[in-house]
């Protein structure tokens, strides 16, 4: 596009391009395939069309037909209407799409849905409900650690994982522990207090 050619293919997304060869090359068998580990280990090629995928989300098994190129985030949001995880940077920078996979926080925008098969996925919806908030959610409300709230679900998930691993955390530990998420409205001041507070909750999160 910018190398002097004056014909554009329209898009600007480098990552989209990479995702494209990841799948397309498998189908054509032209290049050495960039494959998710799980599929390569099985020695099977899946796709490029829709394939059956089974995901364990918030304790429930969901059966879907997906193209292998679908990210976990898009599977959650576009196929299962689990819209708590947000698409913001779409490039593993901002953390708005954070979910737990086997208890660990991951950026679901950069994980293919098929890579999350056979793993325990927990989204923000699985951590609490408006009537039954977990300690992190309660503390976010108490300290008003949110404004527009678009980054909030990602922070809630990341903070819940942080609190589980860091009981009785100090504000300084929170500063160091939540570097993987970004907020635009500027709600960090409340978050520092909220997460430190939640880490002291009796009975854990």
């Amino acid at each position: 596009m910018s190398n002097g050619s004056n014909v554009s293919d329209g898009g600007l997304s480098r990552r989209g391009f990479l995702k494209g060869i990841g799948v397309g090359s498998v189908a054509g068998g032209l290049l050495s395939p960039v494959l998710p580990t799980s599929a390569a280990e099985n020695g099977t090629f899946r796709g490029p069309g829709e394939i059956p995928v089974s995901l364990k989300i918030n304790g429930q098994t969901k059966k879907l037909n997906l193209e292998p190129r679908v990210t976990l985030l898009d599977a959650l949001r576009n196929r299962l209407d689990l819209t708590g995880a947000k698409k913001v940077c779409d490039r593993a920078t901002c953390g708005a799409c954070t979910v737990l996979v086997d208890g660990k926080p991951v950026y679901s925008c950069t994980l293919l849905a098929i890579e999350a098969e056979d793993r325990e996925i927990t989204t923000v919806e699985g951590l609490g409900t408006p009537d039954k908030l977990n300690a992190v959610q309660q503390a976010f409300i108490k300290h008003d650690a949110q404004q527009c709230g678009f980054c909030t679900p990602g922070f809630i998930v990341a903070s819940t994982a942080f609190v589980r691993n860091n009981p009785n955390a100090s504000v300084e530990q929170v500063r160091n522990g939540l570097g993987g998420n970004l907020c635009r409205c500027g709600t960090y001041a409340g978050m520092l207090l909220a997460v430190a507070d939640a880490s002291k909750a009796k009975g854990g999160v």
């Binding site: 600007l12 997304s13 947000k86 959610q137 008003d144 678009f150 998420n181």
Partner: protein, 714 residues
């Protein structure tokens, strides 16, 4: 009967108290549905093709390769562009709607657009590039004032174009059904969003339904439906299916909101005692392809007798400007306060003393002086202050303190609001406003609850639909003034109608009654009372609905709302002179803001403004490549936002109580975001002993200045 005037402090049970955000449980659980989250049955996903070139004639657009892809349901191209030139990289050229997001993404790469390149211009730092007629303004006579000054300080300062970077990108879900148009946009202007949206699809405005329950940030960039709104409507009409079209992050950062840059040559004259006598400013910058308004300089100190301001707009092939929190104020503030700080340094005068002294040239000297003193106390100025560059260094780390002052209008926008008291005792409000994250829902519940003597949980707040009574767009810090007045008037009228009914039962005139603590009672004989629910049951089958209206001029006269506030901020920073990294240790915001409705969310907004300010002071810049005309950092890794580790200790002090509350309600969205850049930059100058003239204060800007100070590369 109760009047609608704001209650005195001793009568307030909710107003001005720290009350939890009422939609907190929805937002923390992922239950809140943002426009980006709206999934309609049978919905298509749309993606845009944008120009990679900053200036080029569009020779042809071939949609066919996309149309032939399985799953593509509709394509669109901008025929008006054929034979014409795109004016900036990121300009929309074509679009695709497909069964899945993945197919839509694949399809846009198939669309072939042929361009004929032209010369572009994306540089905004050189005033010679301005081709527009400069704007000129002069008060007094600067030419006569400068020779009489004891000191004349020249300086050059600037801050680049930055983006809004709303976390929820711009866009909407659109559905054309039975001749009606349903839109779920991410907007800060629910009531007026659809003005003219229907033209492209031939649907009259009374058949357009707009809904935005939650939106992920606007900051001034989300008032209109924009090109993508039209494209969404067209694709939806063409396919007969709902279409989701939200901008991808790179496009969002290029075209959906740019804050104009500002660079300035400043000349400031002052007397030995610090009195500023003359300010001359030559300012330039870009608002993209559009025109340019020079920021207000001198800022805040508007009564300085001799001032002149020349503004030069540079048209660039970059995405167009949009209002960014407090349009033009952060620029005017940064340039003025930096230059003033440099004058104080040249005079070897304590900066606090200098600003206190020159507060005489502001509209509200007493307020600013009080705020300067409070801010100084909060940040420990006495213990930390030193003349520029004269602090003790801790190894390579130098520490400094700086300050800034700002102002904003506020007032309130026109607003209408319905409040309904139902016979079962429930209360609801309907108002066509929106909550940008500032706590609008909570503020409404507080005002109505206060008026009716009920807790916030008793008020069902309905906002975000164009069917509701019309309320203004959320811009210029006008929302809280508008909605607090209209809801207060509606709730008061509704209460008075209820009191009429109840007065017979309590055997007392309605004007001897009040609603408080969930009962209606006689003011002088509190035991003569009736519980809220019982009182409402007396209504029989008919609820009471009353409409309140905020007419801004009248609301000011009647002291519901006011305008013009002053604020002061101070920053304490450390500069690592080896790496050039600037760290904010502490920031203090002192803000005059009239009567505070929702204290907790108001404070959050000031904390947020400080953090947004730290972000543009230290990190943010839309970097453009002169050769290709493209933005080099249209992603969130290289378009940097502050993280939780970057903010230091923050303190917020709102000026409330006597002398402030009586003014009425004043908006808070803009003012506290104006000063951080200047306060931080002044603190850096105080630490280093030399001015780092351009924001953001990244190592590549700090280090060369430090090297120059040492007399070259060392």
């Amino acid at each position: 009967m109760p009047t609608a005037n704001w209650p005195p402090a001793e009568k307030r049970s909710l107003i001005g108290k720290r009350i939890d955000r009422i939609d907190g449980p929805l937002k923390t659980t992922g239950t809140a549905k943002y426009s980006f989250d709206v999934n309609r049955p049978n919905m298509l996903w749309a993606k845009l093709v944008v120009s990679p070139f900053a200036k080029a004639e569009v020779v042809s657009i071939d949609l066919e390769p996309a149309n032939s892809l399985r799953g593509v349901k509709a394509t669109w191209k901008d025929d008006a562009l054929l034979g014409k030139e795109v004016q900036y990289a990121g300009q929309i050229v074509a679009a695709v709607a497909a069964e899945t997001e993945e197919i839509a993404n694949e399809a846009i790469h198939r669309i072939k657009v042929e361009y004929k390149l032209s010369e572009h211009q994306v540089i905004d730092t050189n005033p010679e590039l301005s081709k527009d007629k400069p704007s000129d303004r002069e008060t007094g006579k600067v030419d006569e004032a400068f020779p009489q000054a004891d000191v004349v300080v020249n300086g050059q300062y600037g801050l680049p174009v930055i983006a809004h970077c709303c976390l929820e990108s711009h866009g909407q879900v659109t559905e054309v059904r039975d001749g009606e148009l349903y839109v779920w946009p991410s907007t800060q202007n629910v009531s007026k969003y659809s003005d003219r949206l229907g033209e492209s699809v031939d649907i009259p405005q009374n058949k357009i339904h707009v809904e935005c329950q939650h939106m992920g940030g606007g900051f001034g960039s989300k008032f209109n439906f924009d090109k993508w709104g039209t494209i969404g409507a067209l694709l939806s009409k063409q396919t007969g299916r709902p279409v989701k079209l939200l901008l991808d992050r790179d496009i969002e950062l290029m075209i959906a909101g740019n804050r104009p840059s500002a660079y300035a040559k400043m000349k400031v004259g002052a007397k030995k005692d610090g009195t500023v006598t003359a300010v001359q400013a030559e300012v330039w910058g870009t608002g993209g392809t559009q025109g340019y308004n020079a920021p207000p300089i001198p800022y805040v100190f508007t009564k300085i007798p001799n001032t002149s301001l020349t503004g030069k707009g540079i048209r660039t092939n970059r995405g167009g400007q949009r209002a960014w929190r407090a349009p033009n104020h952060p620029q005017g503030c940064y340039i003025t306060m930096s230059a003033f700080s440099d004058v104080a340094a040249a005079l070897k005068m304590d900066e606090l003393e200098f600003f206190l002294h020159n507060a005489q040239f502001t509209d509200r000297p007493e307020v600013y002086r009080e705020e300067l003193k409070i801010a100084a106390d909060l940040i420990g100025y006495k213990q930390k202050a030193h003349l520029r560059g004269e602090g003790k260094a801790d190894g390579p780390i130098k520490r400094g303190i700086g300050m800034s002052m700002h102002t904003w209008g506020g007032r309130g926008h026109p607003s209408e609001c319905d409040v309904t008291i139902n016979p079962d005792g429930s209360v609801e409000t309907k108002i066509g406003t929106q909550d940008l994250g500032v706590g609008t829902r909570t503020a409404l519940a507080i005002v109505i609850g206060e008026t009716l003597g009920l807790p916030v949980e008793a008020i069902q707040v309905n906002i975000g639909k164009s069917e509701y009574p019309t309320s203004g767009g959320s811009g210029g810090s006008t929302t809280i003034g508008g909605i607090s007045t209209s809801s207060r008037l509606a709730a008061t009228d509704a209460l008075n109608a209820l009191l009429e009914v109840v007065s017979k039962k309590l055997n007392v005139e309605p004007d001897k009654l009040e609603a408080s603590g969930g009962v209606i009672r006689e003011i002088d004989k509190p035991d003569n009372k009736i519980a809220w629910k019982e009182a409402c049951a007396m209504l029989g089958p008919n609820p009471i609905t009353k409409r309140g209206q905020c007419v801004p001029g009248k609301a000011v006269t009647e002291h519901f709302i006011d305008a013009n506030v002053g604020g002061v901020q101070m920053a304490d920073v450390s500069v690592d002179t080896e790496t050039g990294i600037v760290t904010v240790n502490e920031m203090v915001a002192v803000q005059d803001i009239g009567l505070v409705i929702s204290l907790k969310t108001a404070e959050s907004q000031v904390y947020g403004a400080l953090i947004m300010g730290i972000t543009y002071a230290l990190f943010e810049e839309c970097v453009y490549d002169a050769k290709t005309g493209r933005m080099l950092n249209p992603d969130m890794e290289f378009y940097r936002l502050a993280g939780i580790k970057d903010i230091g200790q923050l303190k917020v002090h709102l000026m409330t109580g006597k002398g402030y509350d009586e003014r009425g309600v004043i908006g808070l969205g803009e003012p506290p975001v104006i000063s951080p850049g200047a306060a931080i930059a002044n603190a850096v100058a105080n630490a280093c002993g030399v001015r780092v003239p351009y924001l953001p204060l990244t190592p590549d800007r700090v280090i060369p200045v430090l090297l120059q100070q040492k007399g070259g590369i060392v």
